[in-house]
Amino acid sequence: MLRYTFQRIVLALAIVFFAISALYTVMITLPGDPTTVLLGPRATAEIRADFRERMGLDNPVYVQIAQFWGRILTGDMGTDFNRNRPVAEAVLNALPHTMALVFGAIFWSATLGILLGAFSADNRGSWLDRISGVLSVAFIAAPSFVVALYSLLVFSVWLRWFPTIGAGEPGDIMSRLYHLALPSFAIGLAWVGYVARIVRASMLEALGENYIRTARAFGLPRRTVIYNYALRVAILPAVQVLGVGIGGMLSSAVFAEIVFSRPGLGSLIYDSVSGRNYPVVMGSMLVAIGFFVTCALIADLINAALDPRHRSKA
């Protein structure tokens, strides 16, 4: 397990390193003046010359990448030239909002998806199972930003059940959750479908296993057999899928943040793109990828920890 954990962490770090380096390389080697890219169009000629000197922009690409990571490791992610603040500050302010959104979506998809999947497997072949199967596919297929837009229209604008704008009062948990419910549901809906399908399939597989027959042969109640013995095994693949799914949820979060006018990484990047605010784009990208890779890694390790067969193997 220790060795496995170590391998996974090294791989995750390497992925973040290469993903960001590649993007940075594209940025500095693109035709045009990189000082415009990194300082913004309003910088004066002296500032540009000074910056070019200080950042070593005349050095070979690999030296520049090394210098870039050197700055990142000291916490310097550049300057947000629109609002004149460090990028690190902007990004770290935005991250918790996006994390709340993603974890909210995971909450929805895990609870609803597992319920739906377990219920379908338990009532296999019934018309409820069929409906839930069709619904799952429809949930997966429906674009999350259309779900976000439609739920904004129906539940916030027409019915006025939920707020339309913002992330709630700072410090007021209930207000925060109230503002979080609808956007996170819009992101999570597709994953409700995924989780339901996976839980259903792996549960049907588990129900065919010998140990389920053993449990039934010892007269354990049907509920215990299905919801405790089978579901416990069937949840494992769902954890993995949700971990990998965080990448997709981050994409959906961009839309949810814009549609519901919430602060977060997505709206930060979105606002920076129109202003060609490259340092912020780069910083948000780094944090987004880092967050995603970390979550996938954690899901992987949780999975290994939950499955005792895995625990002693590696």
Binding site: N210, Y211, R213, Y229, V233, L306, R309
Partner: protein, 323 residues
Amino acid sequence: MTAALQIDDLTVHYATREGALQALRDVSITVPEGKIVGVVGESGCGKSTLINALLQLLPENATLPAGRITLEGEDVTHASTRRLRQMRGQEMSVIFQDPMTSLNPVLSIGRQMRDIQYRQPGNRTEKDRRSANMLGRVGIPDPVGKLSAYPHELSGGMRQRVAIAMAALMRPRVLIADEPTTALDATLEVQIIELLKEIQREIGCAILFISHHLGVIAELCDRVVVMYAGVAVEEGPVEDVFLRPGHPYTIKLIECDPGRLKVRVADLPSIPGSLPDLTDPPAGCIFQDRCERATEICATPPPRAPQRPGHWAACHHSGPEGS
């Protein structure tokens, strides 16, 4: 006196695309109190169907057109779901063939043993103590520590001991053993057989022991039923059946048993031919297509020809040389 387990004319069909598959036909087996009855037969003879029918855990496409199973005089085939759940594990329990797959991989041994006592009074500590006692009884070292172990952390022999401990935990009246030694090597096999004998003496249960291994049956059982393609073809006291088999199938089975070969041979002897199509079984004797003694009369249902007291063979030409 009522038998511990009585199976009368049990018939099980599976609905398949090709029609009804007759997995068991008119099987009758009696297991008297405190006795060990063996069921022997090759794969496909209906052993697993028999076990599933006993536990009433047959798949959904199975039907029971005829037959009755009684446990200590109580009808199992018509028992309510609720009553069935009480019987399972308490009054009859099973030791399954492969302890690797029949124990839940993600639950600890202690948790699984605690769960099967859910109907029993007492708190968690008491139930754990009972489990640990039983684990100790079946010869598992450090039984208390093993409660927190997971199945994959134990060796094959240890896992099989756990499976026996689980089956014996509720001191059932009938223990069904489904090839409990097949997955083990010879040394372990002997140990497990000894253990089963001890457990049987201690809790005084009857055992239905299912195996394809003639040596094990001979070692352990009082009586034996020979099954072929869903039909019981011969039954009698173990020694009698093995020393003086009456049915041509039993004779072949004993000839082909690798255990009685004195020298190593390149090819194990086997019975020529293959199992009949059970969706359309032949009229009369089920074994006729592969039988050297078959004549025209074999197309009619064979009688239960008595061999010696308490020993019969379902054959027109039974006996050592045929007739």
